[in-house]
Point group: C2
Chain length 248, copies 2
DNA sequence: TTGTCGCATTGACTTGGATCAATTGACGGT
DNA sequence: ACCGTCAATTGATCCAAGTCAATGCGACAA
């Protein structure tokens, strides 16, 4: 794979991420950098780098909360994050999971639309909204890139609306697994074994199902040899079947 | 209201909309113009105006279809539009309704993420994606505005995810009515009687319900004096009750 | 080693909303 | 006036997924 042969000096970091210890984490960082900065020149990248600083939290800790002023923009370098909205009575809707390379807070509005907390230990590059906004103002092509990322997120949200509104529980689970597989593939290469850092409850709150239904259907898919459940993950055996269930 | 006293020459049009006959339509047009161009100078507005041309379709006609190349950007001046995605087996998810003043195709990606067809006769200003994109490239502040509009749409999509995933049928209907009331208020001023240009089926496909459930619950809310059903619309009698059902 | 805490799983049962089936009413065409 | 179509309503019945309850199973601390 190209990534493995790329010389170290090509591993530009958007920010200083001193806690990264493994080569895997470093790979995450590389992917993240490419995901933002395809439109950036090396010198611009250096400038942006100066604005960022390392940000680390442990599992279960909060990055930011719904309705609070959004002072920061994050670029995730390792770990995964749960993004969710709460109703007053405690019902929860998970609106997404952020994986390494993903941006948080790119819409740059006054208040956070959702809460975010770490599912695993997380490292990220943090920018103040002010700094990031000012930098973007000086780089129109970066703003275009930002807009196209927002458009992509909107499209994902609309796909999720179809899943929530018009699909059966089994189809929801299949869509979730197939969608997650695709995202992990961009991070750590194609693989049929995918990590599931979130709980069954989280998956249920993402798909509009209960824990029990998620558990039952995962078990059933395993019994029918479509998947194998492994600690903190799933191995997809019958991808074609899952894709058929998930098809648009 | 300020709009009523504004002299005619202030009614800048983004495009030529020759079919508009009533002052009501003209008001729509004004609102639409403001919604895009708060950040534009009069001369820039004139430039943009040159790029647009009038676009009219009758009810039930198609503006564009899912997965086709998106060649155009539209700014709706009158009428309403249903935006939806279809599954291969015919199940449908309505992802939104466009009202006067709304933009379609702002994400400016290669292919349409959804289909759009007219619920009523529609007039719009049409730009080619090429023209619009090039114009935006010359106006960074307009690009910022576009990005903030996309961010707002994303936020609405996430609210809809909560509604689809975690609310009861009754709460879905209440949220829909309250949400629509708010949108109509920005167009034609606050009113407790709101037009419903879409069918019960459309509402069901938007909320993840069947026609029958939508009909039953609307009837029930009417029986309980929370609303009155009128031809092509609803009068909201007990707004506080609906807001309680819809509360975030 | 033992207790406990937080998932995850599994079973029994209940139910909100779907499905199926008429019926009504509004409109436009002939 | 009559017919055909299409949206809306209403009733009867069904079932996919929710609820409630019990058990299993590490991980981890005392």
């Amino acid at each position: 794979m190209d990534a493995m042969t790329r010389p170290a000096e090509r591993h530009h970091h958007l920010g200083l991420c001193p806690n990264q210890k493994s080569t895997v984490d470093c790979e995450h960082c590389r992917v993240r950098t490419l995901s933002v900065c395809a439109a950036l020149e090396p010198d611009e990248l250096q400038q942006l780098d100066k604005l960022s600083h390392a940000f680390c939290v442990n599992a279960k800790q909060t990055l930011f909360e719904q309705d609070e002023p959004s002072n920061n923009v994050y670029n995730l370098t390792s770990g995964s994050v749960r993004l969710y909205k709460l109703l007053p009575d405690g019902r929860r809707q998970v609106v997404g999971f952020a994986l390494p390379g993903d941006f948080l807070g790119l819409s740059m509005v006054e208040k956070n639309a959702f809460s975010a907390d770490a599912l695993t230990p997380v490292t990220a590059c943090q920018f103040t909204r002010q700094d990031f906004s000012e930098f973007v103002d000086t780089k129109p092509h970066l703003l275009r890139r930002l807009h196209s990322m927002a458009a992509h997120e909107l499209s994902l949200a609309q796909d999720q609306m179809v899943i929530l509104g018009r699909r059966t529980a089994e189809e929801k689970i299949a869509s979730f697994l197939i969608g997650l597989r695709k995202r992990w593939a961009r991070i750590s290469g194609a693989s049929v074994t995918i990590p599931l850092p979130m709980t069954r409850q989280d998956i249920g709150d993402f798909l509009g199902l209960t824990v029990e239904t998620v558990s039952r259907l995962m078990t059933r898919l395993a019994r029918e040899k479509a998947i194998v459940i492994v600690p903190d993950g799933v191995r997809l055996l019958d991808v074609p079947r899952l894709e058929r269930l998930a098809e648009t």
